[in-house]
Symmetry: D2
Subunit: 241 residues, 4 copies
């Protein structure tokens, strides 16, 4: 099990995230590519930080929506999705290579990620974008009960995939994230660590109703937005060695 985190989400004069503190604990840095966050200067800094810490780098492309931080679903066409994915992947890839790094994976951001999980046509467009990229890059999806089906889709598209689970979010009985609007949606520290421990040791999570769900996860998504987040990541890191 790897630890991944969304980084490089500053933009111009606006700082977001405690990247310097978080990076040392990570295996994988998902770096924003300029459409919903990030800019060329921040991408350069974030790549340098990843290089200094020996962290694997991936592209974290989003919808072209800075003011909405890529969190608003946009009704894009197939060509638009392929284009925005490849443009952002390419931008990060070339900048990474210019620092001696390899971009090895791509994980869509925010609404693009949610649309990938919920809309087969968006997922197909994203897989097509990855498949037609000039070099092999893993696509990261959410680990859900549909992971086997997604693996089949990826096989048809001739791309590699990996699946991520969430450390701090409660799962519903269908194996999806419990809506943030529901009570208990976000774990406290104790429950978060218990969920991580269970994922690592048994490959399962306990749902909001107490059911045991299998999750086929290769990597764990953590968040470093504030000091408490950084401490949580440090604690999670001790469980994953």
């Amino acid at each position: 099990m790897k630890l991944n985190c969304d980084l490089g989400e500053s933009f111009g004069s606006w700082k977001m995230g405690l990247d310097e503190q978080v990076m040392p604990f990570l295996d994988q840095a998902n770096i924003a590519c300029g459409f919903h966050a990030g800019d060329p200067v921040w991408m350069t800094k974030t790549l340098a930080l990843a290089a200094a810490n020996g962290v694997e780098v991936g592209a974290h492309p989003g919808y072209p929506d800075l003011v909405g931080f890529g969190r608003r679903s946009m009704n894009c066409s197939h060509d638009e999705i392929v284009g925005l994915m490849q443009y952002q992947m390419a931008a990060l890839d070339g900048m990474a290579q210019s620092q001696g790094l390899q971009m090895t994976y791509v994980k869509p951001h925010g609404a693009l990620y949610n649309d990938m999980m919920s809309k087969p046509s968006v997922r197909a467009s994203i897989m097509q974008a990855v498949a037609s990229f000039y070099k092999p890059v893993r696509l990261v999806l959410q680990a859900t009960p549909e992971s086997a089906q997604h693996r089949e889709e990826a096989k048809s598209a001739a791309i590699d995939v990996s699946f991520e689970a969430f450390a701090d979010r409660c799962y519903d009985d269908d194996g999806r994230l419990l809506s943030r609007a529901k009570p208990g949606a976000v774990h406290n520290r104790e429950r978060m660590l218990a969920q991580v421990q269970q994922l690592v040791s048994k490959g399962t999570v306990t749902s909001v109703s107490g059911n045991t769900l299998h999750l086929d996860a290769d990597t764990l998504c953590v968040h470093g937005d504030n000091e408490e987040g950084v401490r949580a990541i440090a604690a999670i890191r001790e469980l994953i060695v």
Copy 2:
């Protein structure tokens, strides 16, 4: 002598340039990369058009200024210039490779190009951006009396350069383009073809005052904004074989 032209300058629903008509006559397509013009979908289309016509592709990066079409000088720092250059080069490079093409050169656009020619610090930043890009890419500058000096600078930066002349613009006695505000700044068809013929056969242009100036040019910049431009390119093509 090659023929180069700025292409892919449409943006979203806004069409600019007669790329389909111009491409067959070109050797080199300078493709806008999304900061002053172009977007992922248009970049994809323009790359496909270049591939279909066997045309060499280069990045045509600009200042981040869509509404100003990259024609307004922006007072950017060294890090900002390196970043915006590498981001746009990388974006086009990865998308080009995904279509089986190689991006082999970069020519800055508009105000970024003008600043490169007139401001040593901007030129140094641009050369640094090219030098630290992950693979060798030629930088295109304007052929001027300073070309020898620019060649020295490029040698120090360990990058390749090439120089372009302009077909339809009158040169002043210093070997620079006569300001568009001056009478005779833009050649008519006849004078344009004469200038091209002279450049190809003798490597010189005749300045506005009648002086003969040597220009060390590898490539000739043409413009395909309208039907007359396309016809002019066709006529120039016949002179360059």
Copy 3:
């Protein structure tokens, strides 16, 4: 019956629409406000053109999506919709007043218009934006069988509304525009003029299946994207006096 048209849809160096040719035939100019098209300089020019032709001006706000031309639905919150509506209305209003004009109405653009018609929550947010604007402004909606209900909603929100029909689009049996994907969706010149004549004289349209539908329309939307569009507008103008 008035004639309205979307104008001011150029952006920076990109020209769109034949505004100069269209304006003399119009009663109402829906002017883009910078989020999906238009910019301060084009807004100024378009307002001047409206003033010179004695045409009423309205705001034509869209989603913040230049590259998508406001045609992609974005999942915005209530506060975001109120904000983007009021910002764009205010921008056009103050610029109009600075040319001695009054902005008297607002008609959402593209996906924002479609969402207004199909999603009650978006319509409610838009009505709220208009209601809380500092001065009375009419909201333009599409004339449909739901117009009576929309009139009630507007009454509750304490705003004025008007309804527009389309000259060149075929209606389905439910009184909505036939999808452009369907045959016969866009009228030829003859059928367009017949539809306009019927709307003006009887207040009805004939649907794709031949049914007669009542449409409660105050204004007719026309398009001036090309020469044929301009000629069509001139022909329609002769029917509406």
Copy 4:
């Protein structure tokens, strides 16, 4: 002497400034208008905060450069400057009126402010923008030895002006701000309060060399970027009653 501060400089998910803490100490809030910072939702929030605290509101327009935060000079034409000024002023004005407030002044931001002070042509364009705005709005310039001349220019343009001094910046012997690159450019708390006291009681500042300079200032610019800034504003407020 009034206290003014730049507020509303957050953008989408990126928070900047401690507006809630700063607002109660101010007389005048310079509110960003969306081109270099701010967005419709933040503008709405900031206007509401100003209303709740009884603070006068002004527009704080900048160059269209989000990633550069409006701090990079852009070589704009007269029409572009007039357009960007009026668009942003109008946007804030209409939104302010919709909350029962009046926008009474405008103070350009960042590089636009610096260009206004150093380039007569930019200043003329800005004065023209204010003069042709649909209602009287004061233009805020920096108090310098040229203030009398600027007052004359404003009189010719038929606009009102006011002048601001800086609390925390050391002045050079020419009455301009000492470059931040120089030692002593930014005052510590003690020197800042002494400078404010001197400005209020005598209308003068002591320059870096110890000269006494008269400054014709109506308002004092303070900064609330962090907790120390807020405390400094509170201390200054006690000196200005």
